[in-house]
């Protein structure tokens, strides 16, 4: 059959699909309190309305203070749109977040590693060091009773003390340079190779990869001295360093 004119139009290309990288501003969500967030967001946007007008934006759930918090994505999307932003997708969070976010019309994104733009090597003698994306967090203030800190996908370093009644968690290692009196849980996603390092152990509970020990079962000789805590053959070792 001869190719008709109309068919040739259909076959002439209207688009191409290629993989391309775009840079999006990322809204790092710290709280699930959409009400509070939206008033702060409005304030922020009002400071640079031109910059934010119709700006597509991704929602990053990695930095939630309470990683388990329920998030009202419908309200969040509405709040962002009301500020003139165009929420396009999300990354991080748990399964329940993914479902709720997708139901609110957001697509699942993966954050690219922050690699420096490829440049011609001007000084090839220099070793090429690509900084990895760092998820770790350094906390300089004391972590007080009732506070909870979780670092998804990285290490947590606390420069000060962790009070009784406080809880610190990380997917990676935990370092505490003050007195640790609260609870510390390293490798909470099940990484059994993580460790806790601490200057002065007086913890209520320590855990690595879900294996825990409570205060009562921590030997008195290990209190008040620098220790490391790790797993060996499924059992938790607390050892002086």
């Amino acid at each position: 059959m001869p190719v008709t004119h109309s068919e040739s139009v259909e076959f002439s290309q209207t688009f191409e699909i290629k993989s391309g990288a775009v840079n999006l501003p990322v809204l790092k969500l710290l709280t699930s309190d959409v009400g509070k967030l939206s008033s702060q967001l409005r304030l922020k946007v009002s400071q640079a309305p031109d910059f934010f007008r119709n700006a597509p934006m991704a929602i990053d759930l990695h930095n939630l203070v309470d990683p388990n918090a329920e998030i009202d994505f419908v309200a969040l999307v509405r709040a962002m749109r009301n500020c003139g932003l165009v929420p396009v997708g999300f990354c991080g969070g748990f399964e329940k977040h993914h479902q709720a976010a997708q139901a609110a019309g957001l697509s699942s994104l993966t954050l690219a590693r922050q690699e420096p733009p490829q440049q011609p090597q001007a000084t090839p003698t220099k070793p090429k060091v690509l900084p990895e994306e760092v998820h770790s967090r350094i906390v300089e203030q004391p972590v007080r009773s009732g506070q909870r800190i979780y670092v998804p996908g990285g290490d947590l370093v606390v420069m000060s003390q962790v009070s009784a009644g406080a809880e610190i968690m990380a997917d990676g290692n935990i370092h505490v340079y003050g007195t640790l009196r609260g609870r510390a849980l390293a490798g909470v996603q099940g990484n059994l190779d993580c460790r806790i390092f601490c200057q002065d152990l007086q913890a209520e509970l320590v855990a690595v990869g879900g294996h825990y020990r409570i205060s009562e079962n921590i030997d008195d000789s290990l209190r008040g001295v620098p220790v490391q805590i790790y797993l060996q053959d499924q059992s938790l070792i607390i050892e002086r360093i």
Binding site: Q141, R144, S145, G146, Q161, S163, G165
Partner: protein, 269 residues
């Protein structure tokens, strides 16, 4: 612009109102225009300790609701004309304090005063949260016992995360520890935590130690802030606290067991 000081604790009955009265009077005596606000809606108390309970016409909630002007509700202290008291309402319920309302009153007071002292209610409910929300400085009143220290720690966490300064990412609230009802004797008997114990747990700048003292009860019974009782240990301790707060370097007193004088030893006094 006034500096806003919250006197807070978490735990109840540790000496916040006593402290608010003493410190506001102390600042006013130093010549600073000072307002002290009772945030304990429903349980007003500050006006009694300040001895102005019979002059209350309007209160904090009246001002917030627009039923009275600020200068109608402020009570000028009879002993010091730099000091003004904004009493709490005894009849309203706690929800009458709104965040915007409190912010507006503090903003208005800021124009005329050097210091605003907020006497917080106990707990971490609405009233306490509002009392600390706008603060620049926090005096965390703590008794030398474990539950009080724990509650102070909790309050410090809230100060660091839930205040206006925290929300705006500004310089954090300056936090001071005030240890009250301290008895070196009971510390020695092991019935109380020592200054060092408390410092070790809270690691906070120590503004002062107020000894357990009969003078406090006498003062509040007669409606006179204890700082005016210059002969008393508690009165002197509060004077030191005010001087330290204002930046003077004053050595801490009333921490050690006092050596009994010969007279004391002879008569067991």
């Amino acid at each position: 612009m006034a500096r806003i000081i919250v006197v807070t604790s978490g735990k109840g009955g540790v000496g916040k109102t006593t402290t608010s009265a003493a410190i506001s009077m102390g600042l006013a005596l130093k010549g600073y225009r000072t307002a002290v606000i009772d945030f304990d809606v429903g349980l007003r108390n500050l006006d009694l300790i300040m001895g102005c309970e019979r002059r209350v016409v309007y209160d904090f909630v009246n001002v917030i609701n627009g039923e009275a002007a600020l200068n109608q509700a402020l009570i000028k202290d009879k002993r010091c004309d730099k000091l003004f008291i904004l009493p709490a309402s005894q009849t309203r319920d706690k929800d009458s304090l709104t965040s915007e309302g409190v912010g507006k009153v503090l903003g208005d007071l800021s124009k005329d005063f050097d210091y605003i002292v907020c006497d917080s209610p106990a707990g971490i409910e609405r009233g306490a949260m509002l009392a600390m929300y706008y603060a620049d400085d926090a005096i965390v009143v703590t008794n030398p016992e474990v539950s009080s220290v724990r509650d102070s720690d909790r309050m410090l966490g809230i100060l660091a995360s839930k205040s206006r300064r925290a929300e705006r990412g500004e310089e954090p609230i300056k936090e001071y520890l005030l240890l009250t009802r301290y008895s070196p004797h009971r510390v020695k008997l092991g019935e109380m935590l020592s200054v060092e114990d408390v410092q070790d747990i809270l690691s906070l700048h120590l503004l002062g130690v107020i000894p357990e003292s009969k003078a406090v009860l006498n003062a509040s019974n007669s409606g006179i802030p204890v700082i005016l009782d210059e002969k008393s240990d508690a009165g002197q301790a509060f004077s030191d606290v005010v001087r330290r707060y204002l930046g003077e370097d004053v050595t801490h007193r009333f921490i050690e067991l006092e050596k009994k004088s010969l007279f004391g030893r002879l008569f067991g006094g």
